[in-house]
């Protein structure tokens, strides 16, 4: 009797848990593998055991102090570039969105359609032209040419501003226009309406878009690879993949520790904003 109940439970629900658990293992294994290896005394690519024989922090310690592998410098560069570009992106995107949401002007429709069309082409597709353009900019203004963070930030700005202004505009449309009109009656200028009413009310979407842009830039490889040649200026994606890869199996412990440090904040941020990031329009634009 008991057994037949068990069988019927399995046929109804048990197999679902079985499939579920198989994929839990598949999802978690590589993650646990890299975490435990980063603490393992003898990190070993072949060691499929998830509980290492000895616990050590030496791989984390090895990441600081080596002038040839300035890991924390890369991390700092990445955070610097991604936050500056993310902030400016959202700021300038909000300005543009305000015009599209609240002002009537000629070319508004064309401008909006342009934004939607541009957003379909990844910015890095024109990387040959970007490379040549910044090669020439470097002749004229070396501080923002190839090999500089400023140039890279400018390219990131161009790449996601269309997408962001479009989404912010959509959000601003949901803010009642009667608020503006009341303020206008009281004699407020457009900039006062923007800074005191519309922008503060749009804050939820601005935070989400900042996070999305930040993660996108953090994970970018191709544009950073085109721009940055000096090891000290690398982002973390470049650094790990170029410098460590020379001696993959011997460096494995350090690579694992570097990966854990680089991935954890992003994963936490992502899980925290998961609903907004995966929801609707924003889909598919982030990983890379």
């Amino acid at each position: 009797m008991e057994i037949s109940r068990l069988i019927s439970w399995f046929r109804m629900y048990g197999w679902r848990h079985l499939v579920g658990i198989i994929f839990v293992v598949i999802s978690l294994y590589p993650i646990l593998f890299v975490i435990t290896n980063s603490f393992a005394d003898f990190p070993n690519l072949a060691n499929s055991k998830l509980i290492p024989d000895g616990f050590t922090l030496k791989h984390y310690e090895s990441l600081s102090g080596s002038p040839l592998i300035p890991y924390f410098r890369w991390l700092f560069n990445t955070y610097k570039i991604a936050s500056i570009a993310g902030l400016l992106n959202v700021l300038l995107g909000t300005f543009a969105a305000f015009a599209f949401a609240r002002l009537q002007f000629k070319g508004r429709r064309v401008g909006l359609i342009t934004l939607v069309l541009i957003q379909m082409f990844p910015a890095f597709l024109a990387f040959v032209a970007i490379y040549l353009l910044f090669f020439q900019i470097g002749d004229v203004a070396p501080f923002m040419g190839l090999g500089t963070h400023i140039g890279l930030i400018m390219v990131y700005l161009g790449g996601s501003i269309g997408f962001n202004s479009w989404l912010i505009k959509g959000f601003m449309d949901t803010i009642p226009i009667s608020l503006d009109e009341a303020a206008k009656v009281d004699g407020a200028s457009y900039s006062q309406i923007f800074f005191r009413i519309v922008a503060p009310l749009a804050r939820p979407i601005l935070v989400v878009l900042f996070v999305i842009t930040f993660i996108g830039i953090y994970s970018d490889y191709i544009l950073a690879a085109i721009f940055l040649k000096d090891t000290n200026l690398y982002t973390v994606a470049l650094g790990i993949n170029i410098v460590f890869m020379d001696d993959f199996s011997n460096e494995w412990g350090s690579i694992a520790a570097a990966s854990v440090i680089a991935a954890t904040p992003i994963a936490v941020l992502f899980i925290f904003f998961q609903k907004q990031i995966t929801g609707g329009l924003t889909a598919g634009s982030i990983k890379g």
């Binding site: 499939v19 579920g20 541009i118 040959v128 353009l133 004699g187 200028s189 994970s219 680089a262 995966t278």
Partner: protein, 535 residues
């Protein structure tokens, strides 16, 4: 109060305008001197736009839009057009410069005439910490010359030798400063092929070369006079090679030709549709490119299908009110998506390592059972492609799981209950109702995922770098290369020089493919109507 506020904002506006214009007027002459016409065009347009927007009081909307759109225009729209332009040029290694720059470069070249034989003197070879070579030439009491030795055909007055009496002590011995290292005779012999190319400049036409290396005493140097190698005649538009006494004529490919040999450097010229013709006609390019193109489509399609299949399986399996722990499952499945792809790819590179990797360890019993060699994942075409798809499925299924779950939950329950009442089996109601509705709501996202994977540079470049290589190809290309990674190698990183023109023509083709995909997406998703509705 408000009036005062406006005053301040106006002042700020003029302040920033002044800074921008000052920068622009500093940069514009430079752009002209470097002949960066496209750069000039874009700086000019931006300058006009900014002044037009912020000096005038009339265009309220432009004031808000301009700051963001400048970046959009300069670094997205403009490069797209520029890319198109470059695809019609022969811009590549040897043809990087403009004609003017190439002629200047050629006129700076010089050649040595060894006409002052006999005059020999002691020469000491030094090296600094950056391994640059320096010479000390002990000509006579008046001339103890010191300076950096540069390539023989170069000319740069920055490196003129200087008289340094302090390098000799009262006994007439040479003293080497601490920051330099003096090469012994043996070390000079070891570096002789390099040293042969070097010279110490004295003036425009005279230089010192290492003549005879001595192992026991000081080596000797000789003076040689050098002359300008090429002179350009702008009336006839020809080049004269002074060393060979031949006239060089204008070649067809953006260079001068002397005695049938083209002179390096050349310059970039417009070659019409030549790059596109090469893609179609050049056998050594067409073969690999068709492999790459077909794999790009297969890769994008299979990646989306596999991830969608896994995501659908999980979503359908777990989407049942009576299944416990759904939240826990869901939060675990998000993890592969939450980690930056460049990290996950590294981990998989380790897991798939043929010698030490865990995946081969797992497969070991299978290998023994069938008595086959362990798979070297990145060695063969089939296994490396399988590895790429395996990793991409792991990266992609959480997203599919999330969107399918969302879509499943938005299907009205009444619909399924009505089907049940009408006597449909669960299987029938899934295939007849749930699945079609699901496809309708997520097909735009699937097309989006296809477009994303079509250009998934990071995965391919970091996991396999495109390898294993296609043997016999004229360019650096491998079996897992997709169009964008192939183009990247072609343009910048393939180790066979820069082929910007050809690479730009491939990106132009990718542009059109993405355009078609987007058009299809719009058509099926009715997204455009939503866009219009939102205007």
């Amino acid at each position: 109060m408000i009036y005062l506020g406006m005053k301040i904002s106006t002042a700020i506006r003029y302040f920033f305008l002044a800074i921008y214009n000052a920068a622009a007027f500093y940069v514009i002459p430079l752009a002209i001197s470097f002949e960066s016409w496209f750069l000039l065009l874009i700086i000019g347009l931006i300058t006009l736009l900014i002044n037009f927007t912020y000096f005038s009081q009339r265009f309220q909307a432009l004031k808000w839009i301009t700051p963001g759109f400048i970046f959009l225009i300069a670094f997205v729209l403009f490069p797209a057009g520029y890319s198109f332009y470059v695809s019609f040029t022969n811009w590549s290694t040897g043809h990087i410069l403009t004609k003017q720059q190439a002629i200047e470069r050629l006129e700076d070249l010089s050649y040595s005439t060894d006409d002052q034989k006999g005059v020999e003197f002691d020469l000491y070879v030094l090296q600094d910490q950056d391994l640059n070579f320096y010479y000390v030439a002990d000509l006579d009491d008046e001339n103890l010359l010191f300076g950096r030795a540069i390539n023989d055909d170069q000319y740069d007055d920055k490196f003129f030798a200087t008289h340094e009496p302090s390098l000799k002590n009262s006994n007439g011995e040479i003293i080497i400063p601490d920051t330099y290292y003096q090469l012994s005779g043996k070390e000079q012999i070891a570096n002789s092929s390099q040293l042969q190319e070097l010279a110490l400049l004295i003036d425009k036409n005279t230089r010192i070369k290492l003549y005879n290396i001595s192992v026991f005493g000081a080596s000797s140097g000789r003076l040689s006079s050098s002359q300008q190698k090429y002179s350009y005649d702008d009336v006839t538009d020809t080049l004269y090679d002074n060393s060979q006494n031949v006239e060089c004529t204008l070649g067809l490919r953006g260079n001068f030709v002397c005695d049938g040999e083209s002179v390096d450097p050349g310059w970039r010229i417009n070659v019409g549709t030549e790059n596109y013709q090469r893609i179609v006609n050049d056998q050594r390019l067409r073969g690999p490119l068709s492999i790459v193109t077909s794999w790009t489509f297969q890769f994008a399609l299979l990646s989306v299908s596999l991830a969608f299949f896994v995501g659908l399986l999980l979503a359908v399996t777990l989407n049942n009110d009576k299944v416990k722990f759904q939240k826990i499952y869901r939060s675990i499945y998000i993890l592969p998506y939450a980690i930056p792809a460049f990290i996950s790819i590294i981990v998989f590179k380790g897991l798939l390592n043929p010698d030490y990797g865990v995946i081969n360890e797992w497969f070991a019993p299978l290998y023994e059972l069938f008595n086959i060699e362990p798979i070297n994942w990145f060695r063969t075409k089939g296994s490396s492609r399988a590895a790429v798809l395996l990793v991409n499925t792991w990266l992609g299924f959480p997203y599919m799981f999330l969107i399918v779950t969302g879509a499943l939950q938005s299907i009205p329950k009444e619909l399924l209950e009505a089907a049940k009442v009408d006597g449909a089996t669960p299987r029938q109601s899934f295939w007849r109702i749930t699945f079609p509705l699901l496809l309708v709501s997520i097909s735009p996202l699937l097309i989006g995922a296809f477009a994303f994977n079509f250009n998934n540079f990071t995965l391919i470049f970091l996991l396999t770098s495109g390898g294993p290589p296609i043997v016999g190809a004229d360019v650096a290309v491998g079996y897992t290369d997709i169009l964008i990674s192939f183009t990247y190698d072609l343009a910048i990183a393939g180790g066979r020089g820069y082929q910007f023109g050809l690479a730009a023509s491939v990106t132009t083709i990718i542009f059109f493919i993405v355009l078609i995909i987007s058009a299809i997406s719009f058509r099926y998703s009715k997204r455009l109507e939503r866009v219009y509705g939102n205007l």
